[in-house]
Every structure is written in C-alpha cells, then in structure tokens.
C-alpha cells in the first residue's frame, strides 16, 4: 500500500509540472481564443535563453529579467506579425499559425543558442525525504508550491483587476470587445507576455529536472491531455487535469505496463482524455457551448 501511495504522490507531483505548462496555454486561450501550440516552444525558448545567459556568467536575477524582456519582445512580435493580421479568422487558422510559430521559435532558439543539452541548477535539492513513511521529493514539493502561487496570482489578475475583466471580455467575443473600446492589441501583448512568464517558470523547473534541451518543447504534448481533461478555459481545470494525468499515467505505467508492455506513458493520457471527453465533451471545467444555426 505504501508503494501505491508513493507512485500516486510521485504522479500527482509530476502532474503539477504538466499543469504549469498548461496554465500558460489556458491564459492565451482564455484571452484570445487561440489554441497555442507554440507554448511548448516558448518553454524551450525561455529556458534556453535563461540557461545560456547563466552560462555566460550573468547573475541569476539579471538573467531572469533579460529572459523576461526577450519573452515580452517575442510577445510583441507575435501580436504584431501573427495575431493582428489574423484577427477574426476561424480558430483553426489561428491554431495552424501557432504551429508555424512553434517551428519558428524552436528553430530560432536552437539557431541562437545551439542544440546541446544544458544543465540547470536552481539550488533546490532533489533529496527525497520521508514523510509518514512515504518518500517525497523536495523539488517536486517546491514545484507544487510555485504552481499554487502562480494560480493564486493569475486568478487574482483575472478576477479582480480591470485588465482581467477586459481579458475575459475579449475571450468571449473579440469583435464585441473591440467595439466597446477594449484595446485588443495591448491585451494580447499582456497575455502573451504573461504566458511567456509562465513558460519561463515552467521551463526553469522542467529544465532543472531534465536539463534544458529540445525535448522541453515536446512537453506541450503532455500538456494537451491535461487541458482537454481540465477544459481549455479554466486555470483550476489545468491544475486538476494535471493531477489526474500525472497520477493516472504513473499508476498505469506501474500497474498496467508490465501486463501489456512498457512505455504506455506516452499514449495513456490521450486515451484517458478521449474517454473523458466521451463523457464530458468540453472537459471538466470547460464552458458549455450552445449551437445555433
């Protein structure tokens, strides 16, 4: 039984890491209705920029600030060159544009910083410690704490500030929001920059875990089922979805894996998400849409 709980908690904690990537995604979807496939590349880009600056002996916080500036510049470029010309196009077009964007960002990141694996040390020990007879990783708990803080911060931003209300208006109907005088371009810049920030945080935590390398951009593939289970528009959903995906994939790997062959972690979340969707087609916290002709 102890082993079961260890796997479960390990899974839940790694699920938190998925949630971190998913949150950046939810932000953008919520504010602009864009299904941002490039979130994974943004994680890669920010982490790579940060770690390369560190390796050039830039102090930690300065590197953080410079990376943030880069992400804001990226947000500006995305708004200016991708989103603005595509305003009011069907969502599928915007999705494919972000697919192109992810290619550009990945290519750019590697062209500038090289493709080798960088180690990243955040100064948080990964020593497991024992709690009630279970082995827990300190690092994972730290990540969970960061994710919790981010969620609090973002829900404050979305629910209490004027910008947050404007963001929600834009998410609801771009054209209507424009016509009541909301500055779409400013909001998109803000939201992509915030998504870049979330991506940076996610990239640092993932990078400290796996090393900063190309595979970071593939994390978007782990975040997708999380989003689908949680619903595209809910930050809380991203957390819950992350926990469900993290826990179930680890349990599946440990308990079902030996029966049908290892490596099922790759597809299990997707099958789970599909089954989930058959029951609730818009995810756990997704908004129900009414269809009219």
């Amino acid at each position: 039984m102890g082993f079961f709980f260890e796997v479960l908690i390990g899974g839940l904690l790694s699920g938190v890491m998925y949630s971190l990537v998913a949150i950046g995604f939810v932000l953008i979807y919520k504010a602009s209705g864009v299904f941002n496939f490039a979130q994974g590349s943004m994680v890669l880009f920010s982490a790579l920029t940060f770690v390369s600056l560190l390796e050039r002996h830039v102090p930690f916080w300065l590197a953080f600030g410079m990376t943030m500036l880069t992400m804001i510049a990226l947000a500006w470029a995305v708004e200016r060159f991708v989103l603005r010309p595509l305003v009011n196009r069907p969502p599928i077009t915007l999705f494919m544009a972000t697919l192109g964007l992810s290619y550009i960002v990945e290519g750019l990141a590697q062209a500038v910083w090289g493709a080798q694996v960088h180690g990243l040390e955040l100064g948080i020990s990964d020593e497991p410690f024992e709690f009630l007879g279970l082995l827990l990783s300190q690092f994972d708990l730290f990540a969970a704490g960061v994710a919790g803080a981010l969620v609090l911060l973002l829900s404050f931003l979305f629910n209490k500030t004027r910008t947050g209300i404007e963001l929600r208006a834009v998410a609801d109907d771009q054209l209507a929001a424009l016509s009541v005088g909301i500055k779409l371009q400013k909001l998109w810049l803000i939201v992509w920059a915030v998504a870049g920030f979330v991506g940076l945080v996610a990239g640092l935590l993932w990078g400290a875990r796996l090393g900063v390398q190309f595979s970071l951009s593939l994390i978007v593939l782990k975040a997708l089922p999380v989003l689908i289970i949680g619903g595209f528009t809910s930050i809380e959903g991203a957390i819950v979805g992350g926990l469900i995906v993290g826990a179930s994939e680890k349990l599946a790997e440990v308990y079902i894996g030996p029966i049908i062959g290892g490596g099922i972690e790759n597809w299990f979340p997707y099958v789970l998400a599909t089954v989930f969707l058959l029951i609730r087609p818009t995810g756990l916290f997704g908004e129900q849409t009414i269809e009219r002709v």
Binding site: R89, L99, Y103, G107, A115, G261, Y270, V271, L278
Partner: protein, 355 residues
C-alpha cells in the same frame, strides 16, 4: 484567350459530371500525364526518381488523404502518420503471411486496415468537436507507434521493428529499379487522385463540405453527420494507408515505426496548408514545395555560401523558414498555392483584358 470557353456547351448530365469541363483543362491534364508517364522515365536519373519524384508522389497522396478529412470534412487531425504506419505494416504483414498474394492486393488490404483503424479513432469525433478532437488523433499517433514498436509480431520479429520491402514483382514484372518504382507509384497516385476527385464531386463530398462549414446546419438539412464524419475518417485513412505502404515499399525499402512519427504528421499538415485546404491539386503543389524546399536550401548553402552553414544550423533555418511560410500563407493566402493557380487561370481566361 488561352482559356477561351465560348462554344463549349454542356448538354448532358454526363458532360456536366466530367472531371475537367473545359477542353483546355482536359488537354493539359492529359499532356501532363503523358509527360509524367512517357517522357520522365527517359529523362530522369536515379537521384531524381529516388530522392525527389517518389517522395513527392507519396507525400502528395498522403496530403490528399489528410485533405479529404481536414480540408473537405473539416476534422482536424494530427495522426496522419499513424495511419500511414498502419497501412505500411499491414501491407507488409498481408504480403508476408498470405502466400502468393499479389502486391497490389496487399497494398489494398493495407489501405483497408488503415481505414478500419481510422474509423475506430474517428469514433470520438461523433461526440467531440473542434480542437478537442486533436486528442483522439494524437492518441492514434502515439498508440500506433507504441504498438508497432512494442509488439515484434508486426515487424515479423525483427529486432528493431524495421520492416524490409520484398521485391516488387507485379504480373511477372520486376518494379524494383528506380524507374519501375517511380512508374508504380505514379500509377497508384494518379488512380487514387482521380478517385479522390470523383469522391469530392459526388454526394459524399458535398456532405463533407456541409459538415465542415457548419455541422449543426448540415444535420438540420438532413445530412447524417455521423455517417459523413466516419466515412471521412475511413476514406482519408485508406488514402493515408496506401501512402504509407508506398512510403515503405517504393520509396524507402526499409522502414521502422519511428519513420512515422509526429513530425511526419506535421509535414503532411503543412503540405495541405501550403498547398491549399479543400483542393486536390493543392496537395501536389504543396508536396512539391515541401520536398523541393530543403533540397533548394541545401543547394543554396553549398554553392552560394560554399557550405558556411553547417547541417544543424541549416535544419534550424529550414524550420524557421517553414514556420514563417506557414504563417505567411495563412495571412496572405488562406487557400494556399492552389489559389494562385486558380487566379492565374482566371487571368488567362480573360486575357488580354484584366477583368
């Protein structure tokens, strides 16, 4: 006045149903076919057949398969490569396990198997819409790749999951040399292209487009949306399956499940975005683009920049260029390169006038 259509009257339903209504179109199509079948085998060399023309044809067919699903029926899919893999491995196994099965029949069975798998993974589309559907196609992508790597049975117990194409002998002729492989691929692709063209012009195609444009409205006017969607998944996967077996047997000769990974699915998606969604000829233009661009880039870097850019950087630049092109096309020409061809035709029709 190249495209003068005056005097060409349609007087029967049969004539109205022709693939190319204008005889100029018909003529250029036949001329193109004649060129591809008769002239190219004499003027092409082995490099062109093996590294350019065959992958171009196979990718066109794969694009065609995805275009039927995404461009015509409006169901987004990121699992195309998985259905190609199913086709390739199924055709291999049918050929291996059934004594004396003719080659083309095992291709066909490969396609049918892919279609069946496609319908299974398309089932969620009955309830799930839009982006949420990506999850089931990605499930197909990862599951199929995992299954093919994990169960050695599929690759006849080869240690690394690699399958090797048997000699391509059809009706006593050996098609294993580059020209033969090219002609075989060309024949299959042209035949399937014509079939696809007929499908989208038929009732099925019209239903797909109605579902794509607005499925609620489609069901209101009496179209069986679920039937149309499943049919789209099945037919699209059939085409992808055939493309997969051609990829394995006529292009590469040996193939492993990793050859059909997510990158391949993206590549096929890019073909239809760049070439043109909801267009048959767009797939060929898009595939030509995707195949030729990397070659062009490496030629440029080798000759003009005398190899100053190393291979890794070249790949990065290629990625950036692809990404930029996709965004460019989505902004400037959402209907892809095929639209330029249509514009040109329109211009040629009224030439020398402008409108």
């Amino acid at each position: 006045m190249i495209y003068r259509e005056s005097g060409q009257f349609i007087t029967s339903y049969r004539a109205d149903n022709r693939l190319f209504k204008l005889h100029q179109d018909r003529f250029s199509f036949y001329a193109l076919l004649a060129f591809a079948f008769i002239v190219v085998p004499f003027i092409g060399n082995d490099y062109w057949f093996s590294a350019v023309l065959i992958p171009f044809l196979v990718l066109s067919l794969a694009g065609l398969g995805l275009n039927l699903l995404t461009g015509y029926a409006g169901q987004l899919s990121l699992g195309s490569a998985a259905f190609m893999a199913v086709g390739a491995f199924a055709a291999y196994n049918f050929h291996l396990r059934i004594e004396g099965l003719p080659f083309l029949v095992s291709f066909f069975f490969g396609g049918i198997t892919a279609a069946a798998v496609g319908v299974i993974f398309g089932l969620p589309s009955l309830r799930i819409k839009g982006f949420y559907l990506l999850v089931s196609t990605l499930a197909a992508q990862f599951f199929v790749q995992w299954a093919l790597t994990n169960f050695a049975w599929f690759s006849h117990n080869s240690s690394s999951g690699v399958i090797t194409a048997p000699p391509l002998i059809i009706l006593g002729h050996d098609f294993s040399n580059p020209v033969g492989r090219y002609l075989l691929t060309l024949t299959i692709v042209v035949a399937l292209g014509l079939i696809a063209r007929s499908i989208v012009k038929s009732e099925i195609g019209r239903q797909w487009m109605a579902v794509r444009d607005m499925d609620t409205a489609a069901s209101v006017i009496g179209i069986s949306v679920s039937k149309a969607k499943l049919l789209a998944f099945g037919i699209s996967s059939f085409f992808l399956g055939i493309a997969g077996s051609l990829w394995a047997f006529t292009y590469l000769g040996t193939v492993e499940p990793h050859g059909f990974d997510l990158t391949r699915s993206f590549q096929i998606l890019f073909i239809i975005i760049i070439g043109g969604m909801g267009s048959i000829s767009g797939n060929f233009i898009g595939a030509a683009f995707i195949v030729l661009l990397p070659i062009l880039l490496s030629v440029i870097s080798n000759h003009l920049l005398s190899g100053a850019i190393d291979a890794g950087q070249l790949e990065n630049f290629q990625k950036i260029i692809f990404g930029a092109l996709i965004i460019f096309f989505l902004i400037k020409e959402p209907n892809g390169l095929a639209k330029y061809w249509q514009t040109f035709r329109q211009r040629a029709r009224v030439w020398p006038l402008r409108f």
